[in-house]
């Protein structure tokens, strides 16, 4: 295990940025989001959760696939090159876990080549959560924010003025070696302190107000849940905006469209939201014509359909929808409703 003094982090970033595009949680106004680091950027490693999840980096909101141009009778196609190698620093355990959930979909046959390339080129550096917040419930989905999350190439922990650093993958080891003259070895005493820190985080998790949320309480088969009366009431306050889907680290539905110019254009894909009235619009119209059906779709996908396909829930308990939904129609309430009394907090 390695360490670095926190006041030397900008040196580290500078070094990483020489060879990679480096993404860090950066403050802009009142909002912290992952963006490309440049000298002088206002990095914020204290804010627990960025407004937008880092899924934005591995699966961009808008991504051009292809450019086309008409020349005479010929149509020239040009595949748009993906981005270069990049590092994302400061990814929380819940968000790291979300990448695995996206992998399940995009790296399943037929493999999404753009996504695959994006994942190959990325190196993920996780950051443990010292102070999980009241809106956090990652534990309910088997995530331990005090540990090195599966899927991270390097994991870090903050302790006082120090940042501990541990490579988890081959990629991570290579980068750690390349940063050899900036990182130092951890001494035994510090290792012991780090263990105490981890235990402390674990204890704090138990006291969180949403700690008892348990998706396993959702009983019944697909049809029973689909036909449940709870959807009749639950959807009423939904405003039909796309906030939950766009800040969610696991929502991954997208649309493919063209910018059609006169003699050429671009084909792109972009995030779409099941909350929108034109989602999955087909020639005959929209298969879900009411907000009730749309709300049901979102939560059925997260808690039932995805689970049937990949043996895992499509939620990591990050709490973004809990905090951001303008009318508090978040997944916690849905799990509680579907799980009945057993979820009483």
């Amino acid at each position: 295990m390695k360490k670095i003094a926190k006041d030397k982090l900008s040196l580290l970033w500078k070094k990483i940025a020489e060879n990679y595009q480096l993404f860090l949680p950066i403050t802009e106004g009142k909002v912290v989001n992952f963006s490309i680091w440049e000298e002088g950027a206002e990095v914020d490693l204290n804010t627990l959760r960025t407004v937008n999840s880092p899924k934005n980096i591995i699966f961009p909101q808008t991504e051009t696939y292809l450019k086309f141009k008409k020349e005479g009778k010929k149509l020239n196609l040009e595949v748009v090159a993906n981005k270069g190698e990049y590092v994302v620093f400061g990814v929380r355990s819940c968000d790291v876990a979300s990448f695995k959930l996206l992998d399940n979909v995009f790296l399943d046959e037929p493999i999404d080549k753009f996504y695959e390339e994006s994942r190959k080129k990325g190196l993920i550096i996780s950051q443990a959560c010292l102070n999980p917040q009241e809106t956090c419930f990652c534990n309910s989905f088997g995530i331990n924010p005090e540990l090195a999350p599966e899927g991270a190439d390097i994991s870090t922990w903050e302790l006082g003025d120090l940042l501990f650093w541990e490579a988890q993958s081959e990629k991570g080891k290579n980068l750690t070696e390349a940063l050899g003259d900036i990182l130092e070895e951890v001494i035994e005493d510090e290792q012991e302190k780090l263990n105490q820190l981890k235990t402390g985080i674990k204890d704090r998790l138990k006291d969180l107000p949403l700690a008892q949320i348990n998706p396993e309480t959702i009983g019944g088969d697909l049809k029973e849940i689909f036909d449940s009366e709870i959807w009749d009431e639950l959807h009423r306050r939904c405003l039909g905006c796309g906030m939950c889907t766009y800040v969610c680290p696991t929502c991954h539905c997208y649309d493919v469209k063209d910018y059609d110019g006169n003699k050429g254009g671009e084909r792109f894909r972009c995030w779409d939201s099941c909350m929108f009235s034109d989602f999955t619009m087909m020639a005959h119209g929209n298969p879900r014509t009411t907000q009730k059906e749309r709300v049901r779709q979102r939560f059925m996908h997260k808690l039932v359909y995805y689970t049937n396909n990949y043996k895992s829930y499509a939620c990591v308990g990050c709490g973004r929808c809990t905090e951001k939904c303008p009318v508090s129609l978040d997944i916690v309430k849905v799990i509680k409703k579907l799980g009945g009394e057993r979820n009483e907090l």
């Binding site: 909002v31 937008n52 796309g242 889907t245 929108f276 009235s277 951001k324 508090s328 129609l329």
Partner: protein, 337 residues
């Protein structure tokens, strides 16, 4: 507030029992201290979970749109800003006044959870009490009292109508309009921008709009956005693509601002819900300020029978859109158009 909460519940129970209304629109409490959200009550027994506290920020008037085509009678609780929104929906012919029973709730402001978190007042919080213009944050072992205005939403600090401007029945006593500010404060953000050069202003708004993630929360929460189908949702029209594109982000916000111009009640909900902290309130206030200056002082939602400034035309109306003729220069007689 605690006392009024019981009054509200009683009122709601009676209204349902006497069949004065078929459904009551109010708020309910979720898992967390700040989590008060819109709720629809049809049964007397459910009223127990109705809540009225410092977090009932949601405007319930907009939900009336769903009932416009039904014959249901609806009871709705409205704060000052919500009542303005209600009037605007009536003025826009989107809600029938006679289908609604309005229960007015004087409101001195709602608490911004972010401000509470910034002050670290949420640690171990068990209860929040309100006492006049102070809020008491109670934890297991201590009580911290803060002046309410320190934790109110910014939009509430600028509130000009803390008491509902229309209602059938008022619950509780009217509050002094302590948050009332004169126009110089209300429009100070706008004036700062007006003093910038055209290029600087463009840069400012470019920076703001490029943050947009197109979640449409600003539009969907807005009481002036009451179209059955928004033109931006009509994929056949292709006026707005789904891709994040700087020019289209601008296009969306500017078109929306102009569409709600003269109908925006300045409730600030768009800014509140924006996840990316875009200064939408400045955009709307700029249009309000311009309307005030060009067509006379106007507050949308104050009087549903009033003539909308941009919905009427008077010969002496300013015609500032003609370049070089600011203030509406009179044309000479017989001049060719």
């Amino acid at each position: 507030m605690e006392k009024i909460r019981e009054e509200i519940k009683e009122k709601a129970r009676q209204a349902l029992a006497s069949k004065e209304v078929d459904v009551i629109l109010a708020w309910e409490k979720g898992e967390l201290w700040y989590d008060s959200y819109p709720a629809f009550f049809t049964k007397e027994k459910d009223i127990d979970s109705l809540v009225w506290d410092s977090f009932c920020v949601n405007n319930l008037s907009k939900y009336l749109l769903e009932y416009t085509m039904t014959d249901k009678k609806i009871g709705v609780f409205v704060k000052g800003c919500d009542a303005l929104a209600f009037n605007q929906l009536v003025q826009d012919n989107r809600v029938s006044r006679d289908k609604v029973v309005l229960y007015g709730l004087p409101c001195s402001g709602m608490v911004d959870p972010d401000k509470v978190r910034t002050k670290n007042l949420n640690q171990g919080l068990t209860e929040i009490k309100k006492s006049k213009d102070k809020l008491i944050f109670i934890t297991k072992d201590k009580e911290i009292t803060v002046p309410a205005h320190e934790v109110y939403y910014d939009k509430c600090l600028h509130c000009r109508y803390p008491n509902p401007v229309t209602y059938d029945q008022l619950v509780g006593e009217t509050v002094a309009a302590e948050g009332v500010l004169d126009d110089s404060v209300r429009f100070s953000g706008v004036k700062e921008l007006e003093e910038l050069s055209c290029e600087e202003r463009f840069e400012y708004w470019d920076g703001q709009f490029s943050k947009c993630i197109r979640c449409f929360a600003c539009r969907n929460v807005c009481p002036a956005c009451s179209c059955k189908q928004c033109t931006f949702d009509d994929s056949d029209l292709e006026v707005l693509g789904k891709a994040r594109e700087d020019s289209e982000d601008k296009f969306f916000h500017l078109i929306r601002a102009y569409h709600v111009a003269g109908r925006c009640i300045d409730c600030g909900e768009c800014s509140r819900v924006c996840p990316q902290d875009i200064s939408l309130e400045k955009l709307n206030r700029k249009l309000i300020k311009d309307i005030n200056e060009l067509y006379g002082e106007y507050q949308a939602g104050l009087d549903p029978s009033a003539k909308a400034p941009l919905g009427t035309y008077k010969l002496e109306d300013a015609d500032s859109f003609t370049v070089g003729e600011k203030g509406g220069k009179k044309r000479e007689k017989n001049s060719k158009r």
